[in-house]
């Protein structure tokens, strides 16, 4: 159904305004919507088109010319050099495990809640390792795994590999494995590497950065997906089967692996964890791929 161009322009205007975090004029927006049912439809179409485009664009390499250079990260040695400097500065605090620090570790499938007195709380997903400081509840290091941070009194600084996340009063989820760091924000804002790229990640955004690289990308994420593992659900967007297997292992405590043939295949979709936990074969229907037990783990994919 083709949209009237004037209405589409109006809808686009509203989409721009409501897309600003400071937008307040919901009554005027309601009035515009109520004026004609076609308006809501037009707004939905615009929002969907814009969201889809925003998610698709990072798949393209960033062009070398013009202002794209602005958000292209500094050359690697440069970022690395600064990172080394930062690491050196904090070395006494974290890397050498001063008396005040301690480790919280979860086994696969386990969920644990840690209260940070006067600061907030951390819900730690299975198969994760976090270093906390008894003397300073405002710093932590996520060594590996995944956790949802609810920070009531900012600032709070989280180190993830060589990256630093500075929170400014917020709820955010961080996942860290050998390949990648992923930060998703559901409330407030988090600054990614304030000393380097200095990117503010806002609600509904997900920033990913590969290990050992200063490059990063930002995509949209449904706020309901942030920390959804706590509710026993997991959503994948264009994830490789290897990633799916690793995440499922970590969160269910049941071992999964992807076959070498299928490991790089990409899938999208939502999985409920508890049915998969009780019957891993259910994944087969979900993914349309064979799932079998190879004696050690549940193997997903074609052999």
């Amino acid at each position: 159904m083709a949209l009237d161009e004037t209405i589409r322009d109006q809808a686009a205007g509203w989409a721009v305004r409501t897309g600003d975090p400071g937008f307040e004029d919901w009554d005027a927006f309601t009035a515009w919507l109520a004026a004609d049912p076609v308006h809501a439809r037009a707004y939905d179409e615009v929002m969907l088109a814009v969201n889809e485009a925003s998610e698709a664009l990072p798949a393209l390499p960033v062009p070398d010319n013009d202002e794209e250079a602005v958000h292209r990260p500094p050359r690697r040695w440069f970022g690395g050099a600064i990172a080394a400097g930062v690491a050196l500065a904090v070395a006494a605090g974290v890397w050498q495990m001063m008396p005040g620090t301690y480790v919280v570790e979860t086994s696969p499938g386990e969920v644990r809640l840690v209260e940070l007195e006067g600061v907030g709380q951390i819900e730690i997903a299975g198969g994760s390792r976090i270093i906390l400081d008894r003397d300073d509840a405002r710093v932590a290091t996520l060594e590996s795994g995944q956790a949802l941070f609810t920070i009531e009194r900012s600032p709070f600084t989280l180190r993830v590999g060589e990256d630093t996340l500075l929170d400014v009063g917020t709820v955010f989820d961080v996942k860290h494995d050998a390949d990648e760091m992923a930060l998703a924000v559901s409330e407030g804002a988090v600054v990614f590497n304030p000393q380097r790229q200095n990117v503010t990640v806002t609600p509904g955004q997900r920033l990913t950065s590969r290990t050992g690289s200063a490059a990063y990308s930002v995509a949209t994420v449904a706020p309901s997906e942030v920390g959804e593992w706590r509710e026993g659900r997991l959503t994948f967007h264009d994830a490789t089967l290897a990633e799916v297997a690793a995440d499922l292992t970590r969160l269910t405590g049941v071992s999964f692996t992807a076959t070498s043939v299928s490991a790089q295949e990409r899938v999208s979709g939502s999985v409920l964890l508890s049915p998969v936990q009780s019957d891993p074969r259910q994944l087969a229907t979900l993914l349309g791929l064979p799932v079998r037990h190879n004696g050690e783990a549940w193997e997903i994919g074609i052999r």
Partner: protein, 220 residues
């Protein structure tokens, strides 16, 4: 392992049971105290004990407004269910202070509708893909839809990029900075040395062009 003050989080059923319990409690409390007349009082009480960010009270005081919004937004019969969903969302989690609770609630409602429309469209597409791919494929053998989907994603990206370029280099760059890097519009005005209304108008033209593009693709 040496640490104290942690506990294992209960299983899911407990969590949602608690959520419902708090819903009942808060709603009846609101009725008893006539929350629509004394919302301010309740708000300050909540702010004092710090147990919530005041969202629940703002929700109860503005329930009708939110309902009107959802109806105008096209929720139809689902409007009441969506209100309930918003309630569950805000009472299930403890968040930090929210600068503008009412705006937060409207935004939550708007996002729910955006997600709804998206899943509606996806279901439509799946149905179509299903009937298309189930012609001539061998049962039990994957005809690698994921690789195909990946290609479609890149093709979609290329088309989106071209469309943005056709609107102009600056709108394309502003779109990228705003949507992909998450830079607020006000900061973009400074960055590009233009007025806020120019940023808005660049984005509006970019959005409209992408919507027109999608319409063309979907018609194929």
């Amino acid at each position: 392992m040496r640490f104290t003050g942690n506990r294992n989080v209960g299983s899911n059923p407990t969590l949602s049971a608690n959520t419902f319990a708090s819903f009942e409690a808060a709603a009846s409390k609101a009725r008893r105290s006539g929350v629509f007349a004394s919302a301010d009082e309740d708000l300050s009480a909540v702010a004092d004990n710090g147990s919530t960010s005041g969202l629940e009270e703002v929700f109860l005081a503005n329930r009708d407004r939110l309902l009107r919004f959802l109806l105008a937004r096209g929720a139809g019969d689902a409007a009441e269910d969506l209100l309930q969903e918003i309630w569950l969302k805000i009472s299930a989690r403890r968040t930090g202070p929210i600068a503008s609770p009412l705006s937060y609630l409207f935004r939550t409602a708007d996002t729910l509708m955006i997600d709804r429309f998206r899943s509606f469209r996806q279901a439509e597409r799946r149905e179509r893909d299903w009937s298309e791919t189930h012609d001539g494929t061998v049962p039990g053998v994957s005809d690698s839809p994921s690789a195909e989907r990946h290609l479609i994603g890149r093709e979609q990206a290329r088309l989106a990029m071209e469309t943005l370029r056709s609107v102009g280099e600056r709108p394309a760059a502003i779109f990228r900075r705003h949507r992909l890097d998450g830079v607020p519009q006000r900061r973009l005005a400074e960055e590009f040395g233009v007025s806020l209304s120019t940023v808005e108008s660049d984005l509006r033209r970019a959005y409209a062009a992408l919507a027109a593009l999608k319409e063309r693709i979907d018609e194929v």
